[in-house]
Amino acid sequence: MPSTPRHPRREVLKTLSSGLGGIACAMLAADEAGAAAPFLHGGKPRAKRVVELFMTGGASQCDLFDYKPRLEALHGQPFDPGAGKRVEASISTPGAVMKSPFAWARHGESGRWVSSALPCLAREVDRMAFLMAMESSSNVHGPASYLQTSGFLLPGFPCAGAWISHALGSLADNIPAYVTLPDARGLPYNGRSAFTAGFLPANHQGTVIQASAPQPISHLRPPPDRTDITSESRAEGLEVLTRLNALHGEARPGDDRLAARMASYELAARLQLSAPELLDLASETAETHQLYGLDQPETADFGRRCLLARRLLERGSRFVQVWSGPGGGSLNWDNHGDIPRELGAAAKGMDQPAAALLADLGRLGLLDDTLVVWTTEFGRMPFSQGSVGRDHNGGTFVSWLAGAGIRPGTAFGESDEWSWKAERDVTTGYDLHATILWLLGIDHERLTARHSGVDRRLTDVHGRVVREILA
């Protein structure tokens, strides 16, 4: 809400706290901790930061993690779940039962099943806790993606990263709290609305870094053809501007916004100084480049962004999102036509970098207080679409978590014998969000913002902390 704030100091701090380079976030955090911010659950936060890997398009659980012998036994036969159950596909007529074209094996001490599409992540299963029976109330990309990012099927609600920025701010004063790293080939479903702050102040929206673009952060620098603007002219200009604003402000007491705007320029300058270092991947070793797959064309883009995510986390971001695949009907996990080819390619691009991120965070000791989340908007059908594709399936899908506060090598939930519907210990996106917030020290039922007559939450009126996967 605009205009004169009720608690001026706190509001000034909050206004500035994170969108791009937060002011005195430590102060704010202390302020809130001291005053026992009402949304904190009071226990020790297990995670300081979160990185979310989002598989755009609906990653096929039954080709990656959810092994069902029955699909192999009945491959090619009509899909009949029995008992007159209604089979509903989103855009196609249900086809025959289809086994995964990928080979399955158990991995790690935990013995988790992982398909041959993910050879690198398969080696990391002992770090992970799987949610094996997640369900979505939508079978359609737009609403299901909104649900998984913001807790609502409709546009306009703040995303998880925005809520976290709003609640906790950044860990450093020169790095955004919520950063999102879209695929070089395009934005995810719902475009920038996938990173929106909704009705929260705009500074909480995801800061987009286009890791492969010539100007990765919008407006960070003057246009390259403006050679008249030098670092000297900028620095001197800032001094003059500060003085002009001070003269203006002296005659206008009692309005913190005027001071806040001046502070916002200082923050902008700090970010301009810190960004080149942040984005400079060349400072990483050749071994690290190889680890993340920067040396191979298939993995270079996702790898670059996973590596950048690690650098952001190290420098104080709270919530970093790495998207695997753009929106639209191809180059992502929306594999309607050809599971072996399309999913194979998507998996190849994601597998090694994601595993590298886990390993790298682990060896740096960051996994102790960094939560890694791998998720998607829904799963896919155990029967075929066309010859070798699969249609959307909100009935069951898989996510996994690793790192801070997670009990490693566990799984919670089980789908039916087909991997068609979640059956036992079913979880939802609300539960995932509630769990993420819990690990950050936040009670999801108490983190609210008033909008249009309702105290809104990330978890709407749902959500349960999945304690079964917590350490």
């Binding site: 605009p2 205009s3 004169t4 500035l16 969108g19 791009l20 009402p38 509903e88 989103s90 855009i91 007529t93 079978n139 990309h141 609403p143 993606s145 546009p155 306009g156 395009g186 934005l187 479903y189 719902n190 475009g191 920038r192 609305s193 929106t196 909704g198 009705f199 705009a202 286009q210 919008s218 407006h219 003057p222 008249d228 603007i229 002219s233 900028r234 200009g237 501007l241 003085r243 002009l244 604003n245 203006h248 309005d255 916004r257 705007r261 916002s264 753009p326 929106g327 036509g337 679409q385 066309g386 594709g389 108490r446 983190l447 008033r450 249009s452 007559g453 309702v454 105290d455 009126v461």
Partner: protein, 906 residues
Amino acid sequence: MQSSRYAILRLALLAFVAAITAPPAAADPPWSLAPLARPAVPPGASHPIDAFIQARLAKEGIPPALPADPRSLLRRLHYDLTGLPPTIDDVESFAAECAARGIDDATSRVIEKLLDSPRHGEHVARHWLDAAHYADTHGNDHDHARPNAWPYRDWVIGAFNDDKPYARFVAEQVAGDILFPDDPQAIPALGFLAAGPWDDTLMVGVREDTVDHLMSQNLDRDDYVMTVMSTFQSLTVHCARCHDHKFDPVSQRDYHALQAVFAGIDRADRPYDTDPALHARRRTLLARRGAIERRDSTILAAMQAPAEAARLEAAVTAKQTRADAFQLLEILAITSVASPGTIHTPLPDGSWLASGPTPEKDTLLVTARSPLRDLRAIRLETLADPSLPGGGPGRYEPAGNFHLTEFSLAARPLATADKPAVPVAIAHATADHADSNDPVQGALDGQATTHWSIHPRYGENHEAVFHLAAPLTTEGDAILTIRLDFQGATGHQVGRLRLSVCGPELAPADRDPLPQALAALVAKPAAERMTAETETLFFELLRGEVEAELAALPPPEKVYAVTNDFAPQGSFKPAKSPRPIRILERGEVTKPLEEVGPAALACLPDLPADLFIRSDDEGARRAALARFLIDDRNVLTWRSIVNRVWQWHFGRGLVESPNDFGFMGSEPSHPELLDWLACWFRDDGHGSLKALHRLILSSATWQQAVAFDAAAAGRDADNRLLWRAHRRRLSGEQVRDTLVSLGDGLDLAMGGPAVVHFLDKGKATFMPDGGAPAFLDYEHFPADAPAHRRRAIYRFVFRTVPDPFMDALDVPDGGQLVPVRNESTTAVQALALQNDPFVLHQAGRIADRIGTTENIAAIVDALVRHILLRSPSAEERALLAAHAERHGLTAAAHLLLQTNEFLYLD
């Protein structure tokens, strides 16, 4: 935020919902539902607003601030009424006027001038479009453009400029088509209902029989209910959809009864005519077509009259000639160029069916023998078949579509087997059906990027007729080679086809395909037809006649609005009559309870909720609700709008939650003033918004200075009692328009299609290759492009990829209703003002306009006067002169554009 407070709020919400849905006696209603009576104006100040405000301040012992200085006052007047700054000349002449006539007289002259300016409507429209969550794309995952959204935006601007009385303004936006059928401009008003986001994947692409589709229709109706009730009633009734609260069953009934009002409409392009005569003609024809499609009894009776029946029977005979005139081509072979494994098998009816692999792209070469000596047209039938995906006729999985990218023909006489076939030119083609984006002409233009597609009518037979440019005459039979190219989207080939030809016996117009429903019946002899079949046939003929008459009219304008008459697309089909609405247990579409009919709010004093609609007439429902909304007795309508206008001028409403007058919202700071304004506006002002603007802006309350007073702040830090003016930051649009007016100069052209400020591939959808939404490139859009000079209200607002510059300045993206904008102060904003090419360009143009003299002090004076509308102090002059000398005048101009003084209104 605390759990106890949350619990209280939950209880309050429950109480509120109970209050608005149960009979009024059951619970204490919120303040907003109290009867509306005009309070007495307190003694004291002569201006009624000042009397209320000052009486309250006097009670608290707080003195009001002094009047604002003339420069601040003029700046505030200009921005509040037009969204644009005054010029330094305006400031100086206003100061002179104030001196000559007194400030009151000078001010009222300025108010009148600005209210008469066309810029006024452009400015106020921005407030309204925020509240209506208007944008130029659908939103959601496939964020397609709405190229016809803008007529609604222009209607809003016009309505404010024309000072359309508020009741009429409301009524047109809810039911203009029904209540004002003779006014063509009442159609674009319906863009209000359609303004919000819409999920075309869900509505069009997802199968009709799915829960997702039902859910999307439910959410679509929820958006209508929410938009209408929040905007006109300031009530958040949509929270009664929330399924986790144990609502009184009556409350759910009330909410769903409102849904029933909107159960017969969908969002789609709706034709309208600006010429009233044409509007009337088209309306008559559309009504007739509607009646025919409904098989209205009057039409049935008319066509059974002997003369009409004979006329129609004769028309059938004429059509039969057409069906008989085509002779089947004997197909000798079909070769798949790309895929030898693909087999084509002849069927008894002369058609050929494909089986085997579906190659990615293909070309079919069909060899056939024609018995005609004089061939004029060739007909390609694409036939449905159960063996094909989705029933065909195409081979694309899953839907059965095909994309015929090119059709070409070559011929040679049968007798001369050794001679090569000679290409035969095709003049044009017609089809019984084509996707509106993919007409059959796409198969004749030599381009693989265009094609004929039969989306979304799969599982049906279709046909296209190709007219030869010149007759093909031969001595004996001819061997034809028909080449069918499928070089576009993957796997989009025809699965079953048949070919036939006709000679000169048919007039060219009679060769064209008949609408499908007609073709089968036409072929049947009259004697064999059942009565029902004859009726169907006649209805189809009549429909064809109306269609032809409609097609002969000049093309209509289109506006994206609500309608129940549009071409079906996939699962998205118009409701012939309102869809039945059932109360949903816990709001879940899979748990329907009993059906409810349309009704309005039950909670208003002296105003019955019953809309007295017992029929299935969609329009009557909306019309009745519109009458309910504009009723003089509707206490919410009048309180809501005066509070909104107050908020536009003060930055905050008397009620701080303009869309929520319930228990979860704020209470009014000055309840009696609010009621006085509501009554005055309704009764004395006759709903004139310009009169309301005038009243508010002429008050001493609005005209007071922003001056801070520590003692007053100690008593009322928040300034709820209005002991001074609120300082307001310019909106994103105001910043943009001001920069252009100071730099390049505004292009004041009004209205028309939205102005694009980003680079794209020139497609209507901005989705290259139908794939992912691109990163729309705002950054490299030329800073000096003429499009930048239009006012910001005409910008193309792309819901899911907003302009980063406007985004940084808190301009909403059209996702939610925004009655009050956020006002954030961020580093992103600082960076945008520092580095955006558009800002830098305008700074340069400002420097150009100031020109050059030898005297740097004079230049700086001119610059400050141009931007800040005053002369600089000695220190400012020195600072800016030094900066300009070191880094150029553009740098100095750019600094001034970033000052607090520039961005805030005192």
